[in-house]
Structure formats: structure tokens, C-alpha cells
């Protein structure tokens, strides 16, 4: 049995943090979740429906929240300093509270790529260029003045991903499936609309993703064009003229759209957190007693994030036991 003195501090109350907290609790380990925002849930709380089959994000979040019932949660708090004294961490918060812990789990997740960095897409300049996150909040609230019964809608994949120029060389993993999910939802919301997605590859790797791709083409008539949008300009009437190459036909293409949605990927200001070994020590950092889980390590889908949090908990439990 683990000593009652064992305490784990989780930094970040998103999907990974919540899942890890519930698992640590089930293992009898005293856990505190520190969340900088006023509410828990991270990006999941901002999302409406999830790929591949449109499950409500709220249902998943509610389940994660009900599972942490009884775990101490401190919202509106940030960690300002972590000090190690022998094997004990002294974690200082912004209100000068100090928490003592045996281990720390970093689940600080990702930031959404700032679309204005890709100037050629005109986000922040042209009114009808929006982001995937903004479209998701439109699905949630049903209102966005920029979305006014659009007839032609475009989605741009890989915005801020697979892009050496913006410093993000990796694939963000979730945008392909999100784009097709949102494309289907737009066809549903605006049945008269034509929806185009502009992709470099469609990376439909997960369970049910390829079925989503087929469904988007077959049932929703979503038109996938292989080629990256190279530039966007505003027409006199406020509509958008885009250029891309249809690389499958080898011809450049021009099109006027009413709405362009940018599939912004994942990034972290100071980069993703390195772990000891990408195969067999995926949640262990070089700093003894400090663990990491979820999209703080690399872009992950939600099921991957939850599985990754479970794995981190196992590492923490073993670490605490070994210290006895």
C-alpha cells in the first residue's frame, strides 16, 4: 500500500490532467489539480462535437469531471516556482501558497497556432477567414456574425503544421479528421452550400477516421482538393478569392468563397516537452519525480491523450512505490 503522505500535483486541468487525477485517486494517491483558468476542461471545454462520429465533447468532459469527484482542484491558480528539497517538491503558487508533493505531473497541453502568422491567408485582415476553433464555437453557440448563410466554404488543412517557415515541422494529427467533421457539419447546417477542403495528405489514421472520409465524400458531398491554398485576397463584395493548385490534375485553380476556415494546428510557446525515451519511457522526464502526459509531449488525439494520461499514472504509482 502507498503511504498516505504521497501527494501528486497535476499542472493543468484539461483532458490529460483530469484523467490522470481520477486514476491517481483510484490508486489512493492524494492529488491536487492546479488550473490557470477559472474552469476545468481545457480545449475540450471549448469544443462542440468530436471526430470521428460526432459525440458531444460535453459528454466526455462531464464523464472526466464526475470521475475526479473528491479530488482537490485549484482553479485560477498558476505555479510560479517548483523547488526540490531532497525528494520533496515545494510548489509555489501565484498567491504564495506552497504545496508539498512527491511528484509532479505536467499536463499543460498545447496552444492553438496563431493563424495571423500565416499572413497569406489573411486571418485578422479579411472578415470571412476564421479558425477551426471559432467554427467550433459557432457550432456550440449558433452565432457568429461572419457566418452568414455561406454558399461556398473552404477549409485549409495544415495551417501552422508541417511548415518549416513557422517553425512547426510536425503534423498536428487532429486537423484532418476535424476538417472533415466540420465540413460535414457545415453541409448539415447549410444544405445549399458547397464545401471544399484543401489538403496536402489526408491523414485518416485512427479508428473510424477513414470511414469519416468516405462518409464526407459519399453522404455529404464534401469535395477534397489536393493542394495547399497559397494565397487569399478579398473581392470588392467582401468574398474571398483563393488560389491553390489542384496537384492531382497539375493545374492551378482560382475560386471565390464566402467563408474560409483555417485548420490551425497545435504548438507550445517553449516547444513540446522532451521525455526520456519515445518508446519505453514516454511519460518520464530527465527531472526525477516530474512526469508529463498528453499534448504537452506531442500532438495527440483525445483517445490518445487519455491513454497517455493512464500510462503516466502507472509510472507515477511505480515511482512512489519504489521510493518506499
Amino acid at each position: 500500500m502507498l503511504d498516505d503522505m504521497n501527494k501528486v500535483v497535476i499542472k493543468g486541468g484539461g483532458a490529460a490532467g483530469l484523467r490522470a487525477a481520477s486514476r491517481l485517486k483510484r490508486n489512493g494517491i492524494d492529488t491536487v489539480v492546479i488550473e490557470r483558468e477559472s474552469t476545468l476542461g481545457g480545449h475540450l471545454a471549448q469544443w462542440d462535437r468530436l471526430f470521428p462520429d460526432g459525440q458531444k465533447a460535453k459528454d466526455v468532459l462531464d464523464r472526466l469531471l464526475s470521475d475526479i469527484n473528491g479530488v482537490e482542484v485549484m482553479t485560477n491558480h498558476t505555479i510560479t516556482e517548483i523547488q526540490r528539497e531532497n525528494d520533496i517538491f515545494k510548489i509555489k503558487l501565484d498567491d504564495n501558497t506552497v504545496i508539498q508533493a512527491d511528484a509532479v505531473l505536467d499536463t499543460t497541453g498545447f496552444d492553438i497556432f496563431k493563424a495571423e502568422k500565416k499572413q497569406e491567408y489573411g486571418y485578422g485582415i479579411y472578415d470571412r477567414v476564421i479558425t477551426n476553433a471559432e467554427l467550433e464555437s459557432f457550432f456550440k453557440t449558433g452565432s457568429d456574425r461572419r457566418i452568414d448563410n455561406p454558399k461556398k466554404i473552404g477549409f485549409v488543412h495544415c495551417v501552422g503544421s508541417r511548415d518549416i517557415k513557422v517553425g512547426n515541422t510536425y503534423c498536428s494529427k487532429v486537423c484532418c479528421a476535424t476538417a472533415l467533421k466540420q465540413a460535414c457539419e457545415m453541409r448539415e447546417a447549410f444544405p445549399e452550400s458547397e464545401v471544399y477542403t484543401f489538403y496536402m495528405d489526408l491523414r485518416m489514421f485512427g479508428k473510424g477516421y477513414e470511414d469519416l472520409y468516405l462518409k464526407a465524400q459519399q453522404d455529404y458531398g464534401v469535395k477534397c482538393v489536393r493542394g495547399r491554398v497559397s494565397e487569399v485576397a478579398e473581392a470588392k463584395d467582401g468574398r474571398l478569392v483563393i488560389k491553390a493548385e489542384d496537384t492531382l490534375l497539375g493545374k492551378p485553380l482560382k475560386m471565390t468563397l464566402d467563408l474560409l476556415v483555417l485548420m490551425c494546428g497545435m504548438e507550445r510557446k517553449d516547444g513540446f516537452i522532451a521525455t526520456k525515451n519515445g518508446f519505453v519511457e514516454q511519460n518520464i522526464t530527465d527531472e526525477k519525480g516530474i512526469f508529463v502526459a498528453g499534448t504537452a509531449i506531442q500532438p495527440m488525439t483525445l483517445p490518445e491523450t487519455i491513454a497517455n494520461a493512464d500510462a503516466a499514472v502507472l509510472d507515477i504509482v511505480e515511482f512512489l512505490k519504489r521510493r518506499k
Binding site: L214, Q217, Q218, G221, C224, L249, K251, K254, M255
Partner: protein, 111 residues
Amino acid sequence: MNFGFSISPSSHIMMDDVSRKRFDALKKTEPDIAICMSCGSCTATCTAGANAEVSLRRMILMLQRGKDDEALAMASRCLLCGKCYLVCPRGINTRHVLLSISKCLGHDEDI
């Protein structure tokens, strides 16, 4: 006046000018044309393609980009051997699609 040169038309596909009516009509008969993922299996295995430019995946794309005439010309070179049907991973009845392209957009005698 002859300046000794002329201006080539834009090579851009102007999607705003493309009418989807004929493609959508074809899609009613052949709903499978929407699920092509351009893998190129059909083109790689094409019997006629060894000697002439024939590619079903390109034909399907051309029709979506308003290049009906080019698609029809290509369709006329098909031998209807059906090998592409064997290799299509999405199970598209390619032979039938080819026949419908000619039927919907051109004349039967083109094949």
C-alpha cells in the same frame, strides 16, 4: 496590328465559371464518382493507358473542373477491359462509370 506574339489564355481553372450541372447529373447515375480518392490504381493498370493517355481518376477530376471535352476525349480511348474495376480499392464500378460518362456527357458511339 501584328506584334509577332499573342497572349496565351490563363492556365488557371476558374472554378467560379465551372458549371457543376453535368457532373451532378452524372453523379445521380454514378454516385460512386464522389468517392474516388485519386490513388491512381486505375491509371497504373490501364491496358489502353500503356499506349495512350487514359486515366479514369483524371477523368473524374476533369469533370469536376469543367473540362468535360478533355474527359470525353480520354474516355473514347478506353477499351472497356475492366481491369481498373479489379484494382479499385473503393470498389467503384469503373467500367460502368466510363460508359455513363459517355452516355451522360457525349454520345454512345464515342466509345
